[in-house]
């Protein structure tokens, strides 16, 4: 690795981030695409495109590509078994990408990739048991159990967005047939949806004025207005934090982790989101477990997925399995 870098790619439901990453986890070049959906061919072409951009910007050798996708991944075959937000099911993504890029490609679930980065280099360093949630379009999850990233019987464990917090609750967005899933209450999408509802209900708030002025109420805007001090936007974020806390209660009771790491784009809300989540966890979780867990933001913020994909590629080259 001394001479070369790898490329880490984080494919989100609506975003695509690639970076050339060296063995010290320094990012040399980044490329970013925003895009909503498209068919399978478009999604794959976008990946190739973003990889080529950072590859060309890089002067040294690129040794491999790591790719994290928001899907249940069969790692042995390198295909997605299920995918809530993208048309990738049963597509031989790993082999297609390797062929088109002429590089070894390593494929994993985006949450497991993010867990890898946070565990080896970030907020979960030194832990044997940790839970990671990435809050983006939906929720990605990563699990560290007994000092190993847990992947389930076919590599599809860690769908932490799809734990039920309200058995008679809201329908889950995307292809999940469930209702009352954590993801229906906690995600960038949920933040935008709740923000819109509150903007309509409280027109005199900054949130309401933003709506009146024709701006789209996205999760990012709600977060920005919350940081600016708008009470209505803060309530929306805090309410999402409380729901997050209910999900964390289940996860802490299940896993007895040393640390829960929260990343993804929505962690831009920082303590406005995490403080109410910790409050709920402290009130509802089993005290012996709550006392022993920290709830912290991802060290690598919204980049943990991309960096984790890079770590995946490095470990893949070294013959490890993460």
């Amino acid at each position: 690795m001394a001479a070369g870098c790898v490329i880490g790619v984080d494919l989100g439901g609506t975003k695509l981030l690639a970076g050339t990453v060296d063995e010290d986890l320094q990012v040399h070049h980044r490329a970013y695409r925003l895009g909503r959906g498209g068919d399978t061919r478009t999604v794959l072409a976008n990946i190739v495109d973003v990889v080529q951009e950072v590859r060309e910007a890089h002067e040294g050798e690129i040794e491999a590509v790591g790719l994290g996708i928001p899907c249940l991944v069969d790692r042995e075959r390198g295909v997605a078994l299920a995918c809530n937000h993208l048309p990738l099911v049963d597509v031989p993504i790993r082999d297609l990408m390797a062929e088109q890029l002429g590089l070894p490609v390593f494929l994993d679930n985006d949450g497991s990739a993010a867990m890898l980065a946070e565990w080896k280099w970030g907020a979960a360093q030194g832990a044997t048991d940790a839970v990671l949630l990435t809050l983006g379009t939906g929720i990605g999850g990563g699990l560290l159990v007994g000092g190993k990233v847990a992947r389930g019987s076919v590599g599809a464990a860690g769908e932490l967005g799809h734990i039920v917090i309200a058995q008679d609750g809201l329908p889950c967005p995307g292809a999940c047939p469930n209702h009352g899933c954590l993801e229906a209450y906690v995600s960038g999408n949920a933040l935008g949806r709740e923000g819109l509802r509150v903007a309509r209900a409280v027109p005199e708030s900054e949130l309401g004025r933003a709506l009146a002025s024709g701006r789209e109420i996205t999760g990012a805007l709600v977060t920005e207005l919350a940081h600016d001090g708008d009470a209505a936007a803060r309530d929306v974020v805090a309410n999402m934090g409380s729901h997050l806390g209910v999900g964390l209660t289940s996860l802490v009771n299940i896993f007895n982790p040393e640390v829960v790491v929260v990343g993804g784009a929505a962690i831009a809300a920082g303590e406005l989101l995490l403080a109410p989540a910790r409050d709920v966890l402290a009130r509802r979780g089993l005290p012996a477990l709550v006392e022993r867990v920290r709830v912290v933001p991802a060290r690598f913020g919204a980049e943990s997925g991309m960096l984790g994909a890079a770590v995946l590629a490095m470990e893949g080259l070294a013959g490890g399995d993460g």
Copy 2:
């Protein structure tokens, strides 16, 4: 082990079962106590008493005692960190028992012990990823993750009864501060409580007649009447099965297990309980995961905890950690 046996002890919230078990997992003698609570000294004296009974009945040598308790267990220190149904917190149970019995004692959570028995010898044999629920006074849980029994950072993982299925739901019984926990809806206690409610609401049912005749409406009685065909009792069991299915949905989405094993006394209801649980899981779980999981009764039924404690003792003697 050729010459000797071990003693497995399963301490439940209201029951105590011990058995002398040989290396083929055959049970030579059993002793059983029913008792509700009591102080710490009483609980410990009951354990000593039941162990001495099977020890005296056994002709050969006893090499060790395995003890499964319904508590968060710090396995390194051999103490309970938290205990919902018994006054055992911070008591040095392992060392006290070893001293009083003059035998090596191995202590674990009862659910983890049951997982060990079902994995090594029972319904989860051959699996790398499995989830076990024991439905007794409360819910015990066991986790097999990547071919190892998962115990969390301080040995307290697997509190599967305390995942939230209804964030605004029923208060959780016992010392858990939460509400809407799976255990509030699914357990022997919950079955008795719901049975009583329905007995009052439907006096012409067998359940209602049992109440009128002065019988105590317990989970065991509801199960018995359900097997006898009483529609009201069947509804109570099926409704509990549906709640169980919601919990299984979260667990299958988290763990991608090959098999979910359901044991404990309440599994006496058999398919009357499991069929509705499977139905809910099939409708609500992520299809790619649901297709790959089996939901089965524990091979060792209500004895998996006792047998698991015996396996724990055998593995402890052999220097393994299960």
